[in-house]
Symmetry: C2
Subunit: 477 residues, 2 copies
Amino acid sequence: MANDKKLVEAITSMDVDFAQWYTDVVKKAELIDYSSVKGCMVIKPDGYAIWENIQKELDRRFKETGVQNVYMPLFIPESLLEKEKDHVEGFAPEVAWVTHGGLEPLQERLCVRPTSETLFCDFYARDIHSYRDLPKLYNQWCSVVRWEKTTRPFLRSREFLWQEGHTAHATAEEAEERTIQMLNLYADFCEEVLAMPVIRGRKTDKEKFAGAEATYTIEALMHDGKALQSGTSHNFGDGFAKAFGIQYSDKDNKLKYVHQTSWGMTTRLIGAIIMVHGDNNGLVLPPAIAPVQVVIVPVQQQKPGVLDKAFELKETLSNFRVKVDDSDKSPGWKFSESEMRGIPVRVEIGPRDIENGQAVLVRRDTHEKTVVALDEIDVKVKELLDEIQHHLFEKAKAHRDAHTYTATTFEEFEKTINEKPGFVKAMWCGCQECEDKIKELTGATSRCMPFKQEQLSDKCICCGKPAKKMVYWGRAY
Amino acid sequence: MANDKKLVEAITSMDVDFAQWYTDVVKKAELIDYSSVKGCMVIKPDGYAIWENIQKELDRRFKETGVQNVYMPLFIPESLLEKEKDHVEGFAPEVAWVTHGGLEPLQERLCVRPTSETLFCDFYARDIHSYRDLPKLYNQWCSVVRWEKTTRPFLRSREFLWQEGHTAHATAEEAEERTIQMLNLYADFCEEVLAMPVIRGRKTDKEKFAGAEATYTIEALMHDGKALQSGTSHNFGDGFAKAFGIQYSDKDNKLKYVHQTSWGMTTRLIGAIIMVHGDNNGLVLPPAIAPVQVVIVPVQQQKPGVLDKAFELKETLSNFRVKVDDSDKSPGWKFSESEMRGIPVRVEIGPRDIENGQAVLVRRDTHEKTVVALDEIDVKVKELLDEIQHHLFEKAKAHRDAHTYTATTFEEFEKTINEKPGFVKAMWCGCQECEDKIKELTGATSRCMPFKQEQLSDKCICCGKPAKKMVYWGRAY
């Protein structure tokens, strides 16, 4: 049986070295491979299938709110990128530049899109004329490039996959409403589909998107107590509209500027799933997003009837994403491998089970085993998948809540941040000086001003002046 | 009613200027917009929705044959592109080069992928070890860049969307089988879903893909008698495997090179749909691929009950992709617009229809009107959509067959090519000199050596030597 353990032994324990555990899981669960291009990854079938499930469900939810998909060019001319001042300052230092097309140098260099606000604005300026053309509710699925110095698979890579929604509205109210609507859509998606609890809130001015009037965010807590920004939704007001000249004639025949939003989610979510649910046996996937929900492992598969029964069970379970592992590896190896890959439910079936008209169900999350009668296996698997989905969320929420602290003085704040990985809630006066100082002294960044405010005290933990907002702080990916 | 005609009058007649007709349709049907990046287009919601329907159906068919989706980097280091000699010669002149990341010059320049053979090979060389790892049946959906000098929406653009399948096999036979399997999958897809008949065949050596041992193609005939290469499938043999060192240890413990294939289809297909089925009223979409299959136009919609009835009908027809046009435009305008957008079936319903418990169905392809009872409208719409799908294929096939000619002498060939737009079938000796000469003298290129060979004569039309193959010739996009 020594061989069967090999897969598991190859992973570093998450308590010993969380970063190494993460890298091990990403590789051993065959989600990605490194490529010959520094900072860019190959997303392998199991990793990409998770992304396809994310896309399918998000896309469905977008379309239910009237969003339509489009496709904008990969390249942005330098002059276009420069049109909105804050935006270019935010992105220019980290874009990749195309300078040659074929054998010829280009007259104007092009950047590979780091995000597409400028392209959407350029298009909207031509496409929007009247109030009848509004709102525009567009989204695109694509890859973007940001020339990061240090990179990690899914969490920070030079190229990543995402969706970016870009909307244009007649009024400021409508734009704000859409910004919040999409943030809530993201939050519900994370909680219902990824089983990942999130804090909904607003970014401070320091942390907001380059060019935005307001940025809203959902923040999740990873197993190691670090925060991960998991989705953002921006209200641009009419700033981009003025920079790009996007005007419409209203019902009163007056020319007015549109109000815009943008919102995005990325393959980073796959990193979040790994770091929220994973354990020392590998990946743990929420059933709603798992490429394979049920793996059937035949035991003593060389005995007559065992493989036939396994494939018969696959038919019985055809409402789920189900696979039979009929490879020539040992059952022990297959068990380890199904755990490493995070498959929610394993069905073990051997000659004795068949004789008794039963099978063994093993939960990936708790390793709990149940013996079930074959004639009710579809109902039992359904119940188990629902229970796992629910349990993963509750477990992650309990972990997050247990790692969320409050501080009312700077000393308390510093001690907590240094000794207890997690979120720290604290009051803030609203000045960037205090925010900068806290970051400088403790390494913690403001994650968000949550929608659900609490009055922990009436003073800023940094300067002691009257507090305006309660802020979630944390160390972040 | 003058206003209602405006949309239609804005299109050039296809008999007057086919190229202008195409451009008009692409714009007026709101499939694309031009962008600020020369040669790159904005794909608008109606254009992208056609692509989504193509993707969904192709992806389903791929997966049925065991293909898995992955994602490779956008960039290829110059040294990697250069590994296979023929391949780099074919692509280097038309790639876009990234030379700077952020503010720093790169140590090695990167090209934006024009196709991803080199990236897949680089990955396979690391990922394939044993016969157990084979076959690899991978595909990716992405965009690619080729720095074309002259560009046309969908047909030839500097960036386009596509899928590229890349497989690796243990034997030459298996690779050839997969190459042909995918070509047939493409052909069936074109005929069954896009209602577009295609010729299946093999490219001559002159026309094959850079680095391939054999390229297979499907060729379609556009309304103007020009050919469009609509999908290709390549057998690489072990050429790339040798250049990249992709070896596996076989059951006999010997190290062997893999055999590879690749195959691709692009947004060019949308251009094909337009040019095969379109008419002087605009786009004509096959129901299987139409984003909206049925548009309900209420007549006298201000009259009580008309709009309610229209939305009630939408519910009745919810098995289809259906839309109510309740905008404040006139019915005449709405009729023109639904024709321009190529919506297969229009339902007209007004107060008198409601009184009589009926509605009028109008076919986009033949403009034929039928009055149907409301209580059987779902059945009638289903029948009509099926009939339109079938009719579009038959009509396109009849057009193609009527524009396919044969020539047994060079004079006959030249006269036909010059006077009769379409395919010309002719015998060929197999020498590239003759192929070059025919192209030089007539402007026609060899489209393919069809799988279904005919013996038109026993002599090459060019040199008079013994003929080896019957070839389809034509002017092509």
